[in-house]
Amino acid sequence: MSLLDVGQMRLILALSTATLAGATPLALAAMGGILSERAGIVNIALEGFMVTGAFVGVFAGRSSGWEGLAAAAAVGALFGLLHGFLTQKMRVDHVVSGLGINLLAAGATRFLALRWFTTEGVTVIGVPPTVFIGLAVVLPFCVHFALYRTRFGLRLRAVGENPETARMAGIRPLPLRYAAVGLCGMLGGIAGAYLSLGESHTFSSNMSAGKGYIALAAVIFGKWKPAGAALAALLFGFCYALQSQLQISGKHLHWIGIEWSSPALLDMLPYLMTLLALVTVVGRATPPAALGKEI
């Protein structure tokens, strides 16, 4: 009973592992994004958290990958708390703060990499990618449980929807928001560490390549729900996998005058699909009511 021959089996296996690998950083960062946004803090800074995590992972992980991972998580959390401090205490607009942090992170990591890493870059042993993939598989369930089944999650959502009412019910919004955005930074840092420690074993300045923004797109695509965002991350991961497999196979799909297997077109696919999904299936996504508002 062999429905598929060996070649097809191998292709499916390769596609599914590549899908998981591509989805992992997106899912990790997206879970952070959900926590932050459900607590009411817009998080464009995910991109900056990821670049930082990727850099710190290699910087601190030259002797041991695990140390690098821990440092990436810690520095990511610090950046998250900085975003929280700026938006909550200093009343900086959430998008402005996020963009500033992204600029700072991009500039600082490139600057420091040029200073502390040799021109050929530094290679590290890193951390087995399965660690990150396992975490990315388990985490959506944890976040779902935390959001919908714990007191912390209920309060976090209350703060994101209506901080005034939450305050009247005796919840202090600020510590919750700090906790959420700190966790978000930590997960963003871990997601970035996956790119450097888990995947490429080195740091390059363009490493995150907008994956933080895509993770945010996954959050919105998934309507700010862990399951939805995880599925969106998987979908994006599948697009990446399809693209690399098509490029490896060297097959050409030419139809109605368009070269469908062109890498440029395949690169475009996840973004175009998200747009189409937003326009058609997803419909009006309702963000948390107090998202980006002051408390």
Binding site: I44, M90, V92, G100, G107, S262
Partner: protein, 382 residues
Amino acid sequence: MKRPSLSGILHSRALFLFGCVLGGLGIAGVIMAACGYPVGAAYGALWTGATGIQTGPADGLSQIGFVIAGRQVHIHLFLFAQSLARATPLILTGLAVAVGLRAGLFNIGAQGQMVLGALGAAVAGQAHGLSPAIHVPLVLLTGAAVGACWGAIPALLKSRRGVHEVLSTILLNYVAVNLAAYLILHGLKDPERMAAETREIAASAWLGTAPFALQSNLTGGFLIAVVAAVGFAALLPWTAWGYRLRAVGLGPEAAEAAGIKVDRTRIFAMALSGALAGAAGAIEVMSVHHRYVEGVAATYGFDGIAVALLGGLSGIGVLVSALFFGALESGAAFMESQTNVPADLAVIVEGIVILFAGIRLVRRSRAREHIEEGRQATDVSA
């Protein structure tokens, strides 16, 4: 209650922003020192690269000498021109972001609009046998038109399907870059070149280089950008469309109630925004590269957000902050060539300046809080 005078507000705001810049340079200096770089020499080179001002007597035609307080100083015109050249696309993308934000829309898509505007301009530049008087405006307008079409999409998606423009513009950036790459690979590529570039545009579509710094990238494009900024500053407060745009940005519900067509105004604002970003792309093609090259838009579209925010969304503010960013980036490039301190220092400074400039320490007045509470109450009942 005593109303603060306008000049007082401007004065304190300008001082505050100046403080932000100093803060950014200060923190970046600490990072630099921690890395063991010579801070003094680096900032000296940054200053020279940014302004062109150097000590010592002038030698040659490209330098103008002065004597200040008994010391001989000269301005290196090439370096000065490069700063202005660097500011040119930043003025336009800064205005693009400012137009959107004035209408209440956060256009993060200036990058993609600029890329496609540049590609459109490069294609229109291929036409031969036109006089420069026709060809230059044609190429510029083509770039602007392509940018406008691309910019209008997020506004359409917002009004028709409620898609948030921050998300759609981010996504459209990636679509635009890859669309350009696809079109280059399949049809528009210069067959004689290895890199993914279009053919060179006809000489009739080139913008002439500034006569005082012929080796620089400074062209008439800078004047176009300045005119756009001044036009923005002059037209927005005094025209009907400027009024509608601002009304929609301040409060779409109120604007709607006052009979302003909100959706149409938003689409207009985003098209204008895209047109400005597209024009930035066209000018880069006509002044610097003379063809579409990968990375023609660098990060100008994203930097435009920083420029617009630092410039307080006003035409003149955008002009000033773009000149600052242009000088900073151009100066940093010179700094790297002189002292080996990476030019990415400029990005660090930009990031910190943006974070500082966004800080709003002034407590809202009690009256203002009442108004906002009232607004929230009506929101709930609606």
